[in-house]
Symmetry: none
């Protein structure tokens, strides 16, 4: 036995002893890491380093690597669905509301590469993790609801074609932007053109709106 004088640090370290902050830092670091490397490619060590948190904390808050991944996935999905609701597209006339939704979707994909990347990763995994999530299903009825409303009003007023499946249409709206952005690296390589350049992105946005509205025209 021995008596020793121990100096305790005057100030808390950045991520120390603040549960909420530690958890958020881990989640942010994990999102970046899973986005960049995929599920298998991501390193728990790297997430710990990036977040400034101790590795043990990851296991404390999220159980294991897969639990952390699922938390990232749910958080990321929730973000876009929440933003969509904030558009209040049903306050607008059908054509205008639809245009706002299309443009929002496109610009969201540009601004949030992590959403694209995580979805690609999850689909490579046959949605195994997403299927375990309770919260996910409920997140999507508002989206379907708002598209249905726009389509019905547009059909009634004669500006949209009739009998359009809202889910099918949403998939088309998403597809036109998602594929372009998620595959921009291979597309740029095979076609020898920089699809990430600002003016190419703008052209694509215009094209997407044109395609969807051309289809909806009765």
């Amino acid at each position: 036995m021995e008596v020793r004088i121990v100096k305790r640090p005057a100030r808390k370290p950045a991520s120390g002893r603040d549960p909420a902050r530690t958890r958020a830092a881990i989640l942010a670091a994990a999102t970046a890491e899973f986005t960049a490397k995929g599920l298998k490619g991501a390193r728990v060590d790297a997430i710990a380093r990036r977040s400034g948190a101790n590795k043990r904390m990851i296991y404390h808050y999220f159980g294991d690597k897969q639990g952390l991944y699922l938390a990232v996935l749910e958080t990321t999905y929730a973000a876009i669905r929440t933003a969509e609701i904030g558009l209040h597209v049903t306050d607008r006339d059908p054509v205008d509301g639809m245009r706002v939704l299309i443009e929002f979707t496109w610009s969201y994909f540009i601004a949030h590469p992590e959403f694209l990347s995580l979805l690609a990763t999850e689909n490579l995994n046959r949605a195994a993790y997403l299927k375990k999530s309770r919260r996910i299903r409920d997140l999507h009825s508002p989206l379907v609801g708002m598209i249905s409303t726009l389509l019905e009003r547009g059909a009634a007023s004669g500006v949209f074609r009739k009998r359009v499946d809202p889910v099918q249409l949403y998939i088309t709206i998403a597809a036109l932007g998602f594929f372009y952005m998620s595959n921009r690296h291979t597309l740029s390589t095979i076609f020898g053109r920089d699809f990430n350049a600002r003016d190419e992105l703008d052209r694509r946005g215009t094209h997407i709106v044109d395609v969807v509205l051309a289809y909806l025209r009765p």
Copy 2:
């Protein structure tokens, strides 16, 4: 010159002394494994087992895991581009030719999940491997050429709108099918509907043709 009697085995054993066959078996097994598990998730051991070849042969023929992956990627790209050329769409009238191309693309994505999966994997990797490939760029000019021809003829005869960018259009044709198929697992989960079912696939095919032709109408 010399006449010699050669005994030909009734059936070559899978792991026999037949380099071409060994190489092809490894490539096939690797395609399946990378498709199912991604680049990081794929196991060299599993590929060796599936192919019936000795693990050492993988390194002999392809250098390392990444070299094998690149070979798989090139082979997979070459397959779809070769099949497209075989369509001879420019032998048809513009609308018909375009419809054949759209339907082919869609059915190819259904029949070749490995193409979708490998592209998703490669994009998660920012096309790092594809960029190293010499063969890839050349593979794509015929595709752009055939779409350009159809668009020009259609515009000249008044059945298509003018000044459509052929690459932009191809991305749209691919996007409408690619996103649906590659993301069918998450889409089925979030919308609670089986997008892999036969009738859903047929409906999507019809929808894609409708969307593209509606857009092209002048």
Copy 3:
């Protein structure tokens, strides 16, 4: 400030939670292994076993096998240069100081076969690893400085010949002992005589002093 009771273990176990000791144990084991087997011949597994550490720790502390090798090399070089400084040869008269340096060098080579072996290994490798080291160059100016001082003083007082290159002389001092020790196995074999025997070593020591001082005589 805080007073705390800390239990200190009577003796730390070899593989305990003591980073400094683990690192040192790995370094010691690696020195022995690289000395005995060379860079390629050394086994990471063997180093782990000899050190009592987990193999994973080697990668934790030293990056990879080559990083470990470089650490061994730097440590080994630092040891002899530090010991040389401790001789304080410039506190002596020139002839005496020179004799002390020669005898020290010879006895160091006898006592430290790892130094000889690692240098031979590194030279087979064309000093590829040493060139990457930052610390190495600085380690050697004191040595050159002390030899220069002795030579200048000796030349001034007429006991040494003039214009002797201190680096050339050091190489000669080292060569006479290094070659004998490092090549003692082949020399013993080809000349049929045990050059590792105590009296042979003593004779060589005397010879080396004779040779160097004979050369320095004006």
Copy 4:
């Protein structure tokens, strides 16, 4: 069964069906490979490639990798000993004969890095292979004989000191050149000077002669 026409090559391939040539090509390639990479680092595949011979031939002529290494070692040793005999130093007066031997030794080391490298490798191995060689011992008595003769005559005529051990002296002559050349990579690195440069090599040659003759002076 199947009848097939097989074309037999009109000309022999470079290394085909010529046993002596094949064997020599393998030996030359092996010398280069063992020199550059050491025993463990050398690759049997690389030797086969460099020699243009089939890998199986290596096993046919030399048994295994170690047998090949021993053959290289013996051949290399025989070359220098044969060249020394060709000097006929005992036809000269003692000082001149000694100078010729010293200068030959130094220039041989410069011209034959494979000798230095193989000896270093073999000593790292504690001469394990050399000890197995029958031919080696006999190769060295002429060398000792010629030095003894020079020393005796020089002592008798008063130009050399008495009672010099010829083997001890040979080790010194070899050491002064061998260490410089074999360690030139690390020496250049630690002293920041290119010891491989032509003028440095010349200076060293002069120095070696000076040192040895200064020692021999009575």
